[in-house]
Subunit: 322 residues, 2 copies
């Protein structure tokens, strides 16, 4: 009796979330974030209703004004009548988790507006858990009818870009005085961004930062017909330059659409998500074996120096019939 | 003709590394770091010769003086006649990679001492690659006869602690003025550390930081007979308090030995390494399928909303016969 009622509850939640009810959206995201048994059912219900939202990634090192920029972008998008979902993800640092949530407070100006939904996701457990949850949380917001989803990540490491790569367009935020950081930036990181923004552009060093970026941009090979990454300046606290950022994002979106890269990117992300879920299923089988006789004995023998990890791994894979 | 000669080269390299030759140690680490085909052979040769070294993890947020502390610990350990390997790992941030390597320069004072070997490993490619390479690099240093291996990681996120969990004893470094960071620290992170050190203890706020830590420590459940995490203060630039840190590490090592936790921890780490290698083998099979007909078609159908990722993942696992 209990199980069918619970499942009916999930269906009701899905209906309410699709109708745009904030409490239902929040509860659905919590379910997918926690890896609830209902995630399959939720995904199956939402996939046919998703695919409309434009996903914009915002990333950059701490201190560049990501929250303020997000807030400014939200304000402009609302003025244009677009419904906006914000997903703020902190994949790497548990210590800064508090700060991230603190930053959210600044965004309460949008808190009473039903056209805006804001959600923070911090890394609980291992990164794989978060990486699996973010695409599902995006799908909830997408199916809930938000026209634009801002995916904000803290930091500029590999993990942040793995999250950010879920966006159609990725904006890399930098600020003057972080020049050493820009110098050290790998060309690979620059390649992953579609739009560069130097925030706090009223401060000393903004022009130098722009010059550094323009130089670095020359190191990134661009073939004819490829997207040319614009370098923009903003003062997000005063809303300066924010319209230009939105225009650049719109340009990039149009470029994606006309070249077929939009659909291609979404197919590639679908493949990554499918593969990750499949890998998770295999990992669960291994986890079931961990502590059991087979793996425990191999581990003890390895600790004694009697077997190497590769031979033991072969045995494990064979034992599982993989 | 070529293959046997190359393998003979690896065997010679292993012999030289085990004999403690720095150039051979460095080349072996490069091989395991790059995932060279010889990794299996290297692991098989080194496992029986490893297991002697004491592995000490040092972690903490940027700016607390990890490099200086590492340098001070190395100096004391050398005075005590112990051979020391240092592995400095930056798992999360590509932007700070340059800074990390820059910090290494400070340690060149040990550069001419054959009893010290220092190596930086930055995250190239995905984190999984680094997580797989670090245990193998530790094994090279272990088999090369270093008595102590300092495993230094930047940051305090989950990824850093996954690396740091490879240590027998983990030291969490903090500094005054990072009080907000300490406040925000999750109990889970504190639980993963065995020794707390407040460096730069000559600065304002050191006592406050110690009080904060003592309070946080009360939140971590400690059963009778469990290790009680000491809270120490250092001024690493002047070497102050470093002997006390080494004494606390020695105490913890003795506690690990007498309770059987040392051997238990090493067995657990062996299990994690075996499992990771096995999972990597499965991931490679998936990667071979990515872009192929089966996964590509599923991804296209999912992007159209015709299939959910869980059903597609089931199909993928079935297709591989897993």
């Amino acid at each position: 009796m209990t199980a069918p009622r619970r499942l009916a509850g999930v269906d009701e939640l899905i209906d309410k979330a699709v109708a745009g009810q904030p409490a239902a959206i929040a509860r659905l995201i919590t379910l997918v974030e926690n890896g609830a048994p209902a995630v399959r059912r939720i995904a199956a219900a939402l996939v046919p209703r998703a695919g409309r939202a434009q996903v914009i990634g915002l990333t950059g090192p701490p201190g560049v004004g990501k929250s303020t920029s997000t807030s400014a972008l939200v304000a402009r998008l609302r003025l244009a009548g677009r419904r906006v979902g914000v997903l703020a993800v902190d994949p790497s640092s548990a210590l800064s988790g508090g700060a991230l949530l603190g930053d959210r407070v600044r965004m309460t100006e949008h808190g009473v507006d039903e056209g805006v939904f804001i959600r923070s996701m911090a890394s609980r457990g291992h990164l794989g858990g978060l990486a699996a949850a973010v695409p599902q949380a995006l799908r909830v917001l997408d199916a809930a009818g938000f026209d634009v989803i801002l995916l904000e990540t803290v930091g500029v490491g590999q993990a942040e870009f793995e999250v950010s790569s879920l966006a159609d367009t990725t904006v890399l935020l930098l600020a003057p005085g972080l020049g050493d950081g820009i110098q050290a930036a790998k060309a690979g990181i620059l390649e992953m961004a579609d739009v560069f923004v130097i925030n706090k552009a009223d401060r000393d060093g903004a022009e130098q930062a722009a010059r550094d970026l323009r130089h670095l941009r020359t190191l990134v090979a661009e073939s004819p017909g490829q997207w040319r990454r614009p370098i923009l300046k903003t003062v997000a606290t005063r809303g300066e330059g924010v319209d230009e950022v939105l225009a650049a994002i719109a340009d990039h979106h149009e470029w994606l659409s006309t070249t077929g890269a939009l659909a291609g990117g979404r197919r590639a992300r679908a493949a990554v998500e499918i593969e990750a879920i499949a890998l998770g299923a295999v990992r669960q089988r291994f986890a079931a074996v961990r502590g059991s006789a087979a793996l425990g004995e191999s581990a003890a023998r390895m600790a004694e120096g009697a077997v190497d990890p590769f031979t033991a791994a072969d045995d494990l894979v064979t034992a599982l019939g993989v």
